[in-house]
Symmetry: C2
Subunit: 316 residues, 2 copies
């Protein structure tokens, strides 16, 4: 029948595989646990089984033109190797060759943030504009950069690490070991940590009530909920995160002069409360012409972003 493309969204806890046509319409899906804790061989076996299941459901007379994989890194897209992934427990796994040997179909590998950027650019809020930056604000902050309609991965494939721009010298400690990274100031993790810090000071914040006094359970969702209900401490935490985001994004606007910045990840669900002040602040943070030009948009693709992005790797 038709030509299809397979995308694998490989995560630390689950594998989502889908087959789509060139327009991004997903016809078949498979979702299963990664079982990273059982070791590298087990998780690779799960990836193979997931792809096999999708191929089976797709039917024998369909033509699969390629398999794309989005994976946590660091990895080498060029060599098709995942160097070391704390999330997967992998160390130097030549996943491209392994899957090409298994299925006899061309395979491409790219890191998950880049893949998500490709998906939003081709099928989502990017609308195939010329220059776009995708930012995911979630547990961490990652990015994918599209330059002249192509993924820009940098010289070794590590470009787009927007979460590790230093925004405050000597700021809070980041997971990467440095201080004051955007990720340490404005990620969901940072917002939740700030909420717990404030609640522990004993101030009368509703954040404590929302978790029945179990402060350890305060995360970014709780902070956002308290903020929406008018809690002034939560409001200041969210305001602060937005301010730091405006510095980071403003810097990217001055440096890249992009058409669009697309923001995804859990924290983007805060919605207009985040986007409206962020748009205003970027007008004051970046050089005038570029700030006036850029559109700041919410990601559109939701849960399928990983599958669709992996498919972008192999769609011509």
């Amino acid at each position: 029948m038709g030509s299809y493309y397979i995308g694998v969204d490989l995560g630390g806890t689950k594998i989502a595989t889908g087959a789509a046509d060139a327009t991004g319409r997903i016809l078949v899906r498979d979702l299963r646990p990664t079982e990273a804790e059982k070791g590298t061989d087990a998780s690779i076996a799960n990836i193979k089984a997931s792809i096999r299941q999708v191929l089976k459901e797709l039917g024998g007379d369909s033509q699969v033109r390629g398999i794309g994989i989005g994976s946590p890194g660091p990895l080498s897209a060029e060599e098709g190797i995942v160097y070391s992934s704390p999330n997967l427990g992998w160390n130097h796994v030549p996943i491209r060759r392994i899957l090409e040997d298994e299925f006899g179909i061309g395979v491409k590998l790219e890191n998950d943030a880049n893949v998500a950027g490709l998906a939003e650019w081709r099928f989502g809020a990017g609308e195939q504009c010329r220059n776009m930056i995708y930012i995911t604000v979630s547990t961490g902050i990652g990015g994918g950069i599209i330059v002249d309609g192509q993924l820009f991965a940098g010289s070794l494939g590590f470009a787009g690490e927007v979460g590790h721009m230093t925004v405050v010298e000597n700021g809070p400690l980041c997971g990467c070991g440095r201080r004051g990274c955007l990720e340490a100031l404005a990620s969901g993790t940072a917002i939740g940590r700030k909420g717990r810090e404030i609640a522990r000071l004993g101030v009368p914040t509703s954040m404590r009530d929302l978790v029945d006094g179990d402060i350890d359970r305060i995360d970014s969702v709780v902070v956002a909920k308290a903020d929406a209900a008018g809690d002034p401490w939560a409001r200041e935490i969210v305001d602060e995160a937005i301010r730091y985001l405006s510095i980071g994004l403003g810097n990217l606007v001055s440096v890249f002069n992009p058409d669009r910045i697309v923001i995804g990840g859990g924290v983007s669900n805060i919605g207009d409360r985040l986007f409206e002040p962020l748009k205003r602040m970027i007008l004051t943070r970046a050089i005038r012409e570029s700030a006036a030009h850029v559109q700041i948009l919410r990601a559109k693709l939701g849960g399928d972003i990983g599958i669709l992005g992996a498919i972008c790797l192999v769609v011509e």
Copy 2:
């Protein structure tokens, strides 16, 4: 005889024009004042006269394949128009069309920092690597970005404004009207201003002696001289500028994962005193793989950078 390319380095005070072959060997030069203070027509007449002089010295039987111009901005390379340049006193000057009409040769226009980046990439310290960022640290801080061997100008041509990344929230006022830009913290202007501020506090700094007590004459060259002679106040000013540069460059390394960063402009003449600590600090500011990969180099081309860069615009 051979094929030649003409480059015009247009500045607020002088016009430097040269003709070179495709290898960047400059055969003929002309230098004359811009006379911007006499008005737009006068400065355009000087540009024409400078090009005419170079064409004349080149001799009639040589073939000139194109004329490139590097100009202060903001400008549109695509339209060939200088929108408004405080340095030139120009406002919406279609310089490309004007020169094409005059000489009947194809003309290309680009802003001066981008042109300098192209020159260092093709003929200088960039050695035609894949991804390079050129930064000029002078009165201001500007940049030119080379992505996959091509100038990256962004969607409207304003990319590369690395001097206007916010490095310190609510930092010192920048010429652009915002606060805490890299340019307001680490440019030659910022270094000189800090020197004057310190000297006015009445501390026993040798910076005051170097200008015979006329504090207004303290500029970045005086600060660098006092630093080289061991003045501890000057040392702290230079250290601080390097620290801010390391934040700005570190952010660019994390975002672009470039092969090389090439630093030019007057402040780069501070030499190893600047480059050695800067290289060390970038290792602590940017993500590990990209920081380990990037080479931080001093620009090579000196005074001819503007002519050579303009020539890069038209050399195939």
